[in-house]
Symmetry: C2
Subunit: 250 residues, 2 copies
DNA sequence: CGCGCTATTGAAGCAGATCAAACATCGTGG
DNA sequence: CCACGATGTTTGATCTGCTTCAATAGCGCG
């Protein structure tokens, strides 16, 4: 029942030093680069860092010096203001962190590891110089920035228009799709975040998330024991996520 | 009572041809550029366009060819999916549009003029070449992208955590701040969008927006006749926006 | 002057929040 | 090994803020 200890999502044993050999290359910035540009990127993306569960990659207010690329592991990004706290995302392997800090040279969110994470550090000053020399990398970088805007807009749309049931369904199928995009098994996944985190991400309370998960389970769309989630009727779930309103689901 | 017909927010009479002379220069991408870089930008940012109220700058699905810089006027950006429609922003003079379309070469939102607008067109291919040649422009561009991410994150936070009263207060003080940042009179402003638009932006119904505006009016914090809004007790409104929970406001 | 659109106000219903309590799960130390 | 507390999850009961539906009022404009 246990998955193979070495999967694209588990921390790899010895640190991989080259972007060209990184299993996440196609998702991270290095995707679609000419080999020589790749070499340049490797040259500046020297730093590695390992985070244990609960450790912070950075906190709101920290000076922005580097971008971070996730080599493996799962994290959550947080934003707070006067007591309230919102989870803004659950970044995972192959994603880029810190893009929102470029504008004013200071991070405005916390980033916490949900499990053991391997992180690449990309000094922004070095990257800036490199972008000028390697246009394909620059394009890649701009796409990454733009995609981040899209992601936020989609999330915003979700919060504004979808009701709880739909939000959660969308969250689940989105999560599944992200694992699938990484070539990882996606019909059965281990949730790395608490119900509370999910709630804070979707703008719902923990209790509400629980009840909805129970409904999905009773409807036979998923099975869920603890944080082990299995998609049983993915199509039905996806339909709900798309807003196709079916029977009110008792 | 009528404002001077020539203000930074009104469409200027004869088209200004040079970025260096554009009244919005400091807010748009040209801010803080070396004069020679400015000249380059002027060279590629040739196209001008005037939109009348209700006209579309572009629609979801349109191919992405140019970025748009707003020289004057007000617009709204829309996103839809299966019937539902969300207003994602009310861009105004000095802001850049289209950054979300870079990633996949296709716009995924509609942009509609709320009044007469003058728009600069910046061919993206030209800009890309220019960025390589002019590092200061590249930095400026990255800041613009990053700031857009921040804006979306802030909006997301709002939707997730703030209740209706606070959202609307935040919307109003935000609007005021944006006028102030442009050097325009900001204690009395003309809303360019309908109550419905405000609702669709804040994730509320039009009725709810109306009721809240009525409350703010009764509390003596604003006056509002039609779309003419005056801030009377800005501090109180700002306090509410910041989440300082005061008396329940009858 | 009357038509159409936007805005306002009222009454009723409901989705999700809040409060509260039981129940797993898990690491830890006796 | 089990008892233990800490943490996370589940379910129930009640409450409330916002939506929905409906009707009226202003306002601009031909």
């Amino acid at each position: 029942m246990q998955v193979n200890p070495v999967t694209p999502l588990a921390p790899s044993g010895p640190a991989v030093i080259r972007c060209s050999e990184c299993p996440m290359g196609s998702l991270c910035m290095a995707g679609g680069l000419r080999p020589c540009d790749m070499a340049h990127l490797e040259a500046i993306a020297g730093g590695r860092r390992t985070l244990m569960r609960g450790e912070y990659l950075h906190r709101a207010g920290d000076a922005f010096v580097k971008l971070f690329a996730i080599r493996s592991g799962h994290l959550k990004t947080l934003r707070h203001a006067h007591g309230d706290c919102q989870v803004t995302g659950f970044p995972m392997a192959g994603e880029l962190l810190g893009l929102d800090a470029i504008a004013d040279g200071r991070h405005d969110s916390d980033v916490v590891a949900l499990d053991t994470c391997e992180i690449c550090e990309i000094p922004f000053d070095g990257l800036r110089e490199l972008l000028v020399a390697a246009p394909s990398l620059m394009d890649q970088f701009h796409r990454a920035l733009s995609r981040e805007i899209q992601r936020q807009q989609a999330a915003l749309f979700l919060m504004g228009n979808a009701r709880a049931e739909q939000r959660l369904a969308l969250f689940l199928v989105g999560l599944r799709a992200r694992y699938a995009a990484r070539g990882a098994p996606s019909t059965q996944i281990q949730l790395r975040m608490s119900r509370d985190d999910i709630g804070a991400y979707l703008g719902l309370t923990m209790e509400c998330v629980c009840r909805l998960l129970a409904r999905f389970r009773k409807a036979g769309w998923i099975t869920l024991t603890g944080r082990r989630l299995t998609f049983v009727d993915g199509a039905r779930l996806a339909a709900l996520a798309e807003g196709v309103c079916q029977e009110p689901l008792a």
